[in-house]
Each structure stands twice: as C-alpha cells, then as structure tokens.
Amino acid sequence: MDVQIIANGINASVTIALVACGFGLFYRVHRFFHIAHAMVIASGAYGTQVAWKWFGVSPLSSILCGIVTACAAGCVIEAAVYRTLRVKGAGPLVLLIASVGVFVFLQNVAALVFGNDPLPILEGPARTVSVLGARVSWIQITALIATVALLLGTHLVLRWTGFGLAIRAIADDPHLADLLGLPAERGRSLTAVLASGLGGVAGIVLALETAASPLMGLGPLMFGVVAFIVGGGGLLGTVLAALLLGLTQHLGAWVIGSQWQDAIAFIVLLAFLLVRPEDFLGKKLRKAAV
C-alpha cells in the first residue's frame, strides 16, 4: 500500500469532515436535511473568488470574505425560507423539498452569474513538499491544520459556552427549550451561521485545490451526509466517519479505479443504513415505535 494513497484519503476527509460537521450541527438543531448547504459551500468559494480576482483583495482577506459570504448565505436561506416554513409548522419532508428547491434555484443563479465552467482561483499547481514519502501541497497542510482547529473550536463552543449549551438544549428538545424561555429562533439562526461558516471553509479549500463551479458543493455535501449518518451524529463520530470514508474512497479508487468513488461512498452508506438504521440520537424510529 502506498503512503500517497493514505495522504490523499486524509486530504479528502478534511473537506468531508468540515461539510459533515456543519451539516450535522444544522441537522441536530433544525431536524431536516439542508441540501442547500451545497450552495453555501459554493458561495464560500465564489466569495473568495470574487474578492481575490475581481477586486484584487489580498489572499487572506479574500478567504475571510469567502467565509463571511457563506455565513451570510446560510443565514439568509434560513431566515427567508426555512423560518417561514417552520412558522407554518412544516415537517422535515416539506423542508427537505424546499431545500432542494433552494439548491436548484441558487445553483442555476450561480451558473448564470459565473458560468457553468469551473473557475480556478490559483494558477498552476500549488507547491508541494514531501511528508513521509507522500507529496502534499501547502494548501492541503494548511487545510488540515485549519480544519482541526475549527472543529476543535466548534467542539469547545458547543461544550463550554452558554450559546453551545442553548444549542444543545434546542437540539435535544425544542419544546422544552421553548418552555424554558431559551431564545430558540436566535439559536437556530446562529447555528445556521456556524454551520455555514464550516461549509464555506470547505468550499474555499476545494476551490483552492481545484476550482469553483456551481455544482462543486453537491458531491462534498453528499459525502458529508454519508459521514454524518455513518458517524452517528456526534462531532467525533462524524470526523472519524469522514476519515473512514476518505480512506475507503481512495483505497477503493486504487483497487478498482477512481471513477467508482461516488458509488463506493453510497454503498458504504446503504450498508450502514441497513445494518444500523437507528436514529443517531438513540431515539427509536418514530413510525416503528408505537
């Protein structure tokens, strides 16, 4: 086995972990699949692209612009669409369908504005260094460090701050949180902002490594969903599942060819859903329970 394959697998799992943790945080509070998160990921990439290429902002500030764009995109989607539906008492399937609608809508708006073709941010391949015999680029190393820091930060915020406590309370029992007078609506908005920030960083990393495109977020989002479900919902489980998924994909690609990466990820998902289909919160499935 090649060290390079493991390095590539770990690199793939970095973006998967970021997307999965953002998506998972959102799911735990909002209780539906936020498919439009794929466009939040892309908005991070496009935000960086516009600041860097169109306005000539410095790279570091451009990345900051990208993160802010993603946070804003997530916050606006939440406020404009999801909150309206939530007020009307919409169930998770209605919210899921609306989210798919938002995704299709925004993806094509992005295609109209930026074109369907991928737009690279960096010209030429990034400089690489050798780590234990594997070639890795400085972007990949930075992304790995930044991801570890961000996820650790997210964990600390959720675990030790009042905001984190409130979010976990809303996630555990929204009705009880309401009864206790927790600012549930603000908690939900802030969760959307935090989740979108993580997604935006993933988008920026992807755009720096390859290019920004309207559909760039869908693949990573789907892998993120797989990692989230396989990982069982917790932050650590999600990260481990992302690592497992990234490595499986690259090992599988090495054995049977890289074109099968998508299929591998979803076969892993189906296997997990069929073997271990419980709700990750440990709750029994609603319809199966009387």
Binding site: G91, L93, V94, A98, G101, V102, F105, L274, R286
Partner: protein
Amino acid sequence: MDYLLHILILIGIYVILSTSLNLIAGYTGLLSIAHAAFYGVGAYVAALMALKLHSPFLVNIICAVFLSGLLGAAVGIPSLRIHDDYFVIATFAFQVITFSILNNWVSFTGGPMGLPGIPQPSIFGLEISSHLAFLVLVGIFCALTLWITQRIVQSPFGRVLKAIREDEVFAQTAGKNVAAYKVLVFVIGAGMASVAGVIYAYYISFIDPTSFTVMESIFIISIVIIGGAGSLWGPVVGAVVLVTLPEILRFVGMPSAIAANVRQILYGGLLVAFMMWRPRGFLGEYAFHSGEARE
C-alpha cells in the same frame, strides 16, 4: 408541427414517469429520488437489447419492466427499516450508484459516450418512425399507465397504500403486511417508469447517462409535488406545466445558452413557492406531512 409533436411526446413521457412516482410518493408517502434510475434502466435495457440482440420492441419492453422492477424491489427494501428523510437519502444512494454504473461500465453501457443508433421500433410489423406515430405510442402507454394507476388506487390495495402513508403503524395493526405493500408499490412504480425509458430510448435513438441524473430525479419529483401528490391528474397537470413553461421562454426570445439555467431557476423557485404557500400542489391531497407535524 414536429416541434409541437415533440413537446407533446415529452409531456407524455413525463406523465408516465410522474404518475408512476406518484404511486410511490403521493399515494404511499415514500418520497423517492431514485426515479431517474428506473427510467434509465428501462432505456438502457431496451437500447442494449435492440442493439446487441436485435430483439423486437415488445420483448424489450417486457424485459425492461422486469429488470427495473427488480431494482425497484431493491430500493423498496430499505423503506422497511428507515423512514422519512433518511429514506430519501437511501433512494438518493441508489440513484447515484445506478448513474455511476451507467457512466463507468464503459464496455457494457458505452459509458459517457452513450449508445447511439437505436433502431426504429416496429410493433406487429408496423414501423414507428414519424413523430405522429411516436405520439400515438406514448399516448397509448400514458393512457395505460393512468388506467392502471386509477385501478390500483381505487382498489383495496390502493386504500392500504394510503393507510400506510397516513399511519404506518395503524396499517400494521389492522393486519396489513406493510412490508410487502411497500416493496410491491416500488416494483410497480419502477416497472412503469422503465416503460417511459424504453419509449425515450427508441424516440431519441441515442441515450447517454446524463439523461438519468439526480437532477432528473429531482425534476420528476417536482412534477409530482407541483402537480399534486396523491391525485390521479396532479402529475398530468404538473408535467404539462413544467415541460411547457420553459418552452415559453424560447418564444420570448431567450438565448438557448441561458435557457437551461433559467428553466431550472424557474422550477427550483416553484418548488420553494409551492412548499411555502401550497404544499399539496395544484390538485394534490397529500402534503408530505410527517407523523410529528400532526401529533
């Protein structure tokens, strides 16, 4: 004139697709985004048999229905153990895997290059080559699909499907074999969808995997939702609206380079708007509520 016929044929194909999905999603409440996979399996089975075995149209359609039905059973089985949004993701997985096989098994399916040169079908010696002949063919299968669907949903079988949609545990308590019903409705829906695939393959005479993507599945479910889930004529209305709406854009002189994107913006926006103000669509009786929302 051919243009008008072409639009009508497309509407017909989407009526078959959305009516069959309506059985699964609208009547039984199993929201599935794997429908383009059944559609694709139908198209590929027919195309491969016509090209490699030179077998006749009716034989191909039977094989396509059979194989697609098998895939339908495979997609239906997870619905016994997982529900609601998790089930949607499971069907999504089947959709991605099927697309992946169509796209990557190059030696068998032709991969991204697709399968060109599918011959014109003939039924009992009758050549079907003109647009009009295809329209008649589509019309017959549309009518058949709607008739079968109507028979199903008005039968005791159909009432059980609706019972499963409204309250699965209750259906089970009433002694109904919920598992068998769910798998069976998937087999029926997948079989019907494959017929649309067969007709599409023969009509266009060239197929490639890009016609059977996730986005296509989302388009078909949009037709069902906007038209009205759980109503016989809902998907028909949905298909007419969603297929002709982008054609209107063509008449107002929108350049074709952006027309594809504007078309998707339109139905993405419609999907959100309907969820907000009319979740049951134009004619529907089912609004994808879940058990929680009604408690």
